[in-house]
Amino acid sequence: MTKKKSIVVLSVIAIFVILMAVFAVVDTFQIGNSLYDYTGYARTIKLGLDMSGGVAAVFEVDASDGIDDLDTRVAGTITSLQSLLVSKGYTEATVTEGTNSNGNKTIRVEVPDVDDPERVLDLIGRPATLEFKGENNVNAENLIVGSEHLQTAFVTTDENGQFAVGLRFNRAGTDKFSEVTKEYNGKSVYIFVRGKFYTSVKINSQITNGQAIITSDDGYTYQQALDFVTQLQSGTFGVKLNVTEIRNISATLGENSIRIALIAGAIGVGIIFLFLIVVYRGLGVAADLALCVYIVLLIWFCAVLPWVQLTLPGIAGILLSVGMAVDANVIIFERIKNEYGRTNKPIPTAIKDGFKRSTAAIIDGNVTTLIGAVVLWILGSASIVGFAVTLFIGIILSMFTSLVITRLVLKAFMPLNSKSERFYGLKRKADKEEQEEAVGFNGQIAREEA
């Protein structure tokens, strides 16, 4: 690398970090005279109930319908609600069974990162009646009632690979649906949600096995199919739910939990940066630059990846991966010091060999953690997935920044001052016989020699 090239490389990295940092937080920016609306990507990171609160909706279970086995039906409804919310990407939402002071059963749905209470109802499809009717008229006779006949609905594909809506009926529903499809074969049935016309479906043949798929002539988009499924699913709830309250709730960790997490993070990172510079000097500067790249990339990935909903466990994943990113740098630098201390290699060679000899350790350490993260991602329940995802991103980035960016920065440093022991905090061991590990107070040692 020539001096010119190394200055270019360092400037590019610095500008990248600064731009990424700016775009993370700015709200609007101005080019020329026009003002652009933009939300910094760091602000778009989805946050969990514990970090930012959300909306809590409490439904009272209407037990007046007189059907037995309320407990089972409530439990079934809770499961349906949970899977509905997870399918919408709200992995951190909670659905809890409760009893209010009147002794009535309640279901409490808490959805994070939502400001508008009405939005919760959009998400879970306003638990309401779902009716199939023979004609486009609200007052027409019900052919099929969701809560009585429909077991579940799901997004699927038809034989042509187009998205379609799958229906599965329960035992009573199978008989009823068979009758209906016989009677209305070749005609249309009309689906009403909460007493309002939603869509109509043409019946092509009699269906006796209780399973059906609904296709559209133009083909559904995934989103259309999903919306339809949501409506159908919320019509299958085994119990009638009445909304008793929908209110905004604050973070369970306390009002200022995000601010506190940010302050603690800033102090922690600041101390780590200082620590690396004090202990490793020039090498520390390179590590700090690589860590800056790591931090902006981590924030960016958290913002753009759809599975990330940041909660306290997610923060733990980030803390651990930051720790591992720093660790990788420490391992490399200890090796470099070791290489330089007990051989006659010049600084660039010592740095190169230090990287070479620490790569295996870093990769092995990271891969084992990565195995854990992937298994948790696949097998863990919803709230663990958030943690696994942040850990996964963090580890990949930590390997990338320590093995690629730190090396690049150090390579770029080389043409500028490749002989300065003082800058890199490196020192040759005077006594060849005692060539043990340098203990890490090399700032001091280098000064003594100078």
């Binding site: 809890t96 709730i249 466990p313 720093v326 350490g365 663990i384």
Partner: protein
């Protein structure tokens, strides 16, 4: 100052973890014993072992007490004052408030605070009686009528959170074990996994001793520590692997010495890493609310346990296990050669016994030769620095 540093360095250069391996092994047992005593004592007096362990509201459910106060508490300072006041009133009754949340509605006059606490009894009637008492007590703090209501809630953590996390952990432990066995040695794998299990047990024991409530975020804290500890152990084992490379095929390898050397040469890094990982968690614990602290304390304890296990347990364990593994293999090889002896002449025996090492390692000609020489002189090969430095040209 300088003197202190050099004595620290001396300690680092001469310290042997293998020598005190037994002593280091005792510490976890003592901690687990204390935790067991705490659980049994509290469980026997309190009647519930779940409470004794400290299972929190996320897993067991409890009560939500909503206190409607009005637009006053839209202000953060006022909110905090009221929160503290009511929390004290509730905790008078022996329950512990796990979460306090501000609740806002369209009408600012309905702004409320919701407190969640775990019930201390399992009996529905007792729970109700207590909640009524708490309601009366909190009611008397405010002039506003009918401002307190309560609702019992079930577990917010999904029923399958623990079982799924357990299965995921078991699967990852097996996969990690396989990976370590492939990349390192069989004994490294077992030593690392034992260290990992140690961390899980110790972190849990320390959590019980410190009386920290176990809620759903605890599972994540536990996994964090496991990942941290495995990484830590691997870095040390990497050094062992490197020292072992030139000794491949030799007998009576001084594993203890290699382990000590590896621990010593990575000790600076172990301390630095624990420090840099911990610093943010410590600040989070200092600045954060009680709930955040409940999450951070187990992590801090776990980081210490994780470092302890990889430095003081995994390495001596690895050394002891590798040694006895070698010995067993040798014995096995000898026994095989003895049965072999019955059919064949003496010359064959020497060949058979001279090669036991070549069974697993790809028998590089040099290694076989070394092993052969050793057989004749029966010399103990001590680990030596000369063998481990790679001079690459």
């Amino acid at each position: 100052m300088n003197k202190q540093k050099s004595s620290f360095r001396n300690l680092c250069n001469t310290f042997s973890v293998s020598k005190y391996g037994k002593f280091f092994g005792m510490v976890p047992f003592v901690i687990v014993l204390i935790a067991l005593i705490v659980i049994v004592a509290l469980g026997a007096t309190g009647g519930s072992y779940g409470d004794a362990v400290g299972i929190g509201i996320d897993f067991e459910g409890g009560t939500i007490l909503t206190v409607t106060i009005g637009e006053d508490i839209l202000d953060d300072v006022k909110f905090e004052e009221n929160r503290v006041k009511i929390t004290e009133a509730i905790e008078e009754f022996g329950v512990k408030v796990s979460y306090a949340q501000k609740i806002t509605a369209n009408n600012p006059d309905n702004t409320a605070i919701a407190f969640r606490y775990k019930n201390i009894s399992r009996n529905d009637k007792d729970i109700d009686d207590l909640n009524i008492k708490i309601r009366t007590a909190v009611d008397s703090l405010y002039e506003r009528e009918n401002n307190v209501k309560y609702e019992s809630i079930g577990a917010t953590a999904a029923q399958d959170l623990l079982s799924k996390a357990g299965i995921a952990l078991a699967v990852s432990v097996v996969l990690i074990l396989i990976y370590i066995i492939i990349r390192f040695t069989l004994m490294s794998g077992f030593a690392a996994i034992i260290a990992l299990l140690h961390d899980v047990v110790i972190m849990f024991a320390l959590t019980v001793i410190c009386r920290v409530q176990i809620n759903s975020s605890y599972v994540a804290a536990m996994i964090t520590i496991i990942a941290y500890s495995i990484n830590n152990t691997i870095i040390i084992f990497d050094r062992c692997r490197e020292s072992l490379k030139p000794l491949k095929g030799q007998k009576n390898i001084n594993y203890e010495r290699i382990g000590d050397e590896a621990v010593r040469s990575t000790f600076t890094r172990s301390v630095y890493t624990t420090f840099t990982t911990m610093v943010t968690v410590i600040f989070l614990a200092i600045l954060g609310s009680d709930t955040i602290r409940e999450f951070c304390v187990p992590i801090i304890l776990g980081l210490v346990a994780g470092m302890y296990s990889s430095v003081f347990l995994a390495t001596p364990l690895w050394a002891a296990m590798s040694r006895s593994f070698d010995r067993t293999r040798e014995k096995y090889a000898k026994r095989n050669s003895v049965t072999y002896d019955k059919d064949d002449d003496g010359e064959e025996i020497i060949l058979a016994t001279a090669q036991p090492k070549a069974v697993t390692a790809s028998p590089a000609p040099k290694a076989v030769k070394q092993a052969g020489q050793k057989q004749q002189s029966n010399k103990v090969y001590k680990y030596s620095k000369k063998n481990t430095t790679f001079k690459k040209k």
